[in-house]
Amino acid sequence: MALLDEKIRAQVQPQAQALIKPVTLHVFTQELECQFCRETRQLAEELAAMAPEKIKVAVHNFVLDKAEVETYKIDKIPALAVVGEQDYGIRFFGIPGGYEFTSLLQAITMVGSGDAGLSQASRMKLGALIKPVNLKVYVTLTCPYCPQAVHLAHQMAMASPLIRAEMIEATEFPHLANRDQIMAVPKVVIDGIGSFEGALPEALFIEKIIALVNGGKT
C-alpha cells in the first residue's frame, strides 16, 4: 500500500519534476529491528517514482555497506541523506513523516535548486564560523513548529561547508533524546557546545548558532 495518497502525489509531482539539478536520496536501512526503516525506504522510493529523471534512490545496508556508512557518517537508522551535486551534510534520522514530510520536501527542493535560499546577511554571518559544526535538530512528527527549525539548519548546511545538519525524530531514538535532555521540541543541540529550544526566524537562528559556536557559550 502506498504511503503517499493521490492528493499529496498531485501536489508533489510537479515540484519533483521541476527540479533543476538531480537529487539522490541515500537511504540507510536494515531488514530487522528498525521501527521505520521499511517505511523510510518506501517513502524515498515513492518520491523518486514521481520524477525518475530528477530523483534517484540509493539503498544501503547499515550493517554491510560499511564504505557508504563511513562516507555519509551514518551512526543510526533509519537514515536519509539528501545529496545533490555534492554532499552538503543534510541528514534525516528517523522517518520524515507527519510535519517532517515538509522538511524532506524542502530539502529536496533546495538541493535540486542548487540554492540554499538564505539572505545575503545570513550568508555573511555564516562566513564568520571558525570551526566545523554538527547541528542536531530534535523533533516530533506532531510538532508544527519543528520543520522551520529543521529547514533553517539544512539551509545552513547547504550554505556552509563547515556545517552538517541532522533532523532527529526524538521518539525513535529515546536514548539520544534522554542523553540530550529532550523534553520539548524543536530543540537544536550542538555537540559539546550547547543547545536552544524553539523555532526562531532566520536571522536570530543563525545569530544564536554563531554565538554558541564561536563564543562557546551555552
Binding site: G97, Q106, Q181, V185
Partner: protein
C-alpha cells in the same frame, strides 16, 4: 500506527530578499491563523496584492488536538484543518514572510509600514491585524526554570516525551481537557487541576475524562519543583480548605487560557481592558485603514469558525476601504 504526511511549502511564495523594496501591497495581513488565512483568500479573490507576515500557518489550530465544532467536519484534527486552510490560501499567489511584526507606523498617503523581527519593512495600503492569542502563564516559581524540562506549552508537540509518566494538566477548559485526553492515550497518569470552581470544558469532553483522570477542582498550583533539570512535582493548595499538599509529577502541561498578541499594537490602535483590539461590527479599528479579526480582537467568543468569519469580513472591509480611497 498509520503514518501521515503534511505539506506546508512556503518557498514558492516566499518574499525574496529585497523584493519588498519600492512595493506597496494592497494589504498586509499580520498573523496566519484562521482569521488571517481566510482574509487572504477573500482578498485574493478581489485581486488585491497581499502579503502575509506570520511565523506559521494555522495559528492556535496547529496546537489543537481535535476539533468537533467546525462546520463541514464532524471531527478533524487541528493539524488537518490548518493544512486545509493553508492549501486553500496557497492556491493564490499570496506573498509570505515567515517573521513577526515588531513595529507599525503610518506614513504619508495613508500607508502603513510594518517592521519585522527579521529586519524587513513592508509597506501596505491596509493592515489586517490577526495575530491571535497565546497561552497564558501560571507565573509561579519553577515555571520558567523548568520550561522545556517538564513544563510544557505545546501538548501536541511534546506529549510523546511523557509516555507512561504521571503528569499534571493545569486548566479547566476545552484545551486542558483535550490535552488530558491525549495524555491518557499515552498511558499517562493524569491529574487535571482547575483553579476556578466548576469545569469550563464542554460536558462532552468532561464525560470522556470521568474515571480516567484525577480531577482537582478549585486547586491552585503554587510551585513547580524539580531536581537535576527535570520537573519532579508540584505544590498544590485546595482553595476551599487552604490545605497544601505535594504531588509527584514528571510534567506540567499549562492550558489555562489565552492572552492576546497585541503588545506591538499598543498606542497604534485602541485596545480594550483585556488588551484585545477594539473593533466595530465591520472589523474596523480606531485607525482608518487598519482592520482586525480573530482572537486578538474584542469580538466575543473565541472560536475557529468565528475567527474565520471575521477574517472574511476584514478582507472585504479593507477592499471597500481601498476602493473608496481610489475614487
Amino acid at each position: 500506527m498509520p503514518m501521515d504526511f503534511k505539506m506546508d511549502i512556503p518557498s514558492s511564495s516566499a518574499l525574496n530578499e529585497g523584493e519588498e523594496k519600492d512595493v506597496v501591497f494592497d494589504m498586509a495581513i499580520l498573523g496566519g491563523g484562521p482569521a488571517g488565512l481566510t482574509a487572504a483568500v477573500y482578498a485574493m479573490r478581489k485581486q488585491m496584492s497581499v502579503i502575509m507576515i506570520s511565523p506559521d500557518l494555522g495559528g492556535q489550530v496547529l496546537k489543537t488536538s481535535g476539533i468537533e465544532n467546525y462546520m463541514g467536519f464532524q471531527y478533524i484534527t487541528g493539524a488537518e484543518l490548518s493544512q486545509k486552510f493553508s492549501e486553500q490560501a496557497q492556491l493564490f499567489s499570496i506573498k509570505r514572510l515567515q517573521e513577526s511584526a515588531i513595529h507599525l507606523k503610518q506614513i504619508e498617503n495613508n500607508r502603513f509600514v510594518t517592521r519585522t523581527d527579521g529586519g524587513r519593512e513592508i509597506t501596505s495600503r491596509t493592515l489586517i491585524l490577526a495575530t491571535g492569542k497565546r497561552w497564558r502563564k501560571l507565573n509561579i516559581p519553577g515555571e520558567e526554570l523548568y520550561l522545556g524540562h517538564g513544563v510544557v506549552n505545546c501538548a501536541v508537540c511534546d506529549a510523546p516525551f511523557f509516555k507512561g509518566l504521571p503528569v499534571v494538566v493545569a486548566g479547566g477548559g476545552n484545551s486542558a481537557a483535550s490535552a488530558a485526553l491525549d495524555l491518557i492515550r499515552l498511558n499517562c497518569k493524569v491529574t487535571l487541576v482547575n483553579y476556578s470552581p466548576g469545569w469550563q470544558a464542554d460536558p462532552v469532553l468532561m464525560k470522556q475524562l470521568q474515571g480516567r483522570v484525577e480531577l482537582l477542582d478549585q486547586h491552585q498550583i503554587l510551585e513547580i519543583q524539580g531536581e537535576h533539570d527535570r520537573v519532579t512535582g508540584v505544590k498544590l493548595m485546595d482553595r476551599e480548605s487552604k490545605r497544601e499538599h505535594q504531588l509527584e509529577t514528571s510534567g506540567v502541561f499549562i492550558e489555562i487560557g489565552l492572552i492576546p498578541n497585541t503588545e506591538v499594537f499598543k498606542g497604534f490602535v485602541a485596545l480594550n481592558e483585556y488588551l484585545e483590539i477594539s473593533v466595530d461590527c465591520a472589523t474596523r479599528t480606531s485607525r482608518r485603514g487598519v482592520f482586525a479579526a480573530g482572537d486578538c480582537t474584542s469580538v466575543p467568543e473565541k472560536q475557529i469558525i468565528i475567527a474565520a468569519g471575521e477574517g472574511a469580513k476584514a478582507a472585504l472591509a479593507a477592499y471597500h476601504y481601498i476602493t473608496f480611497q481610489k475614487h
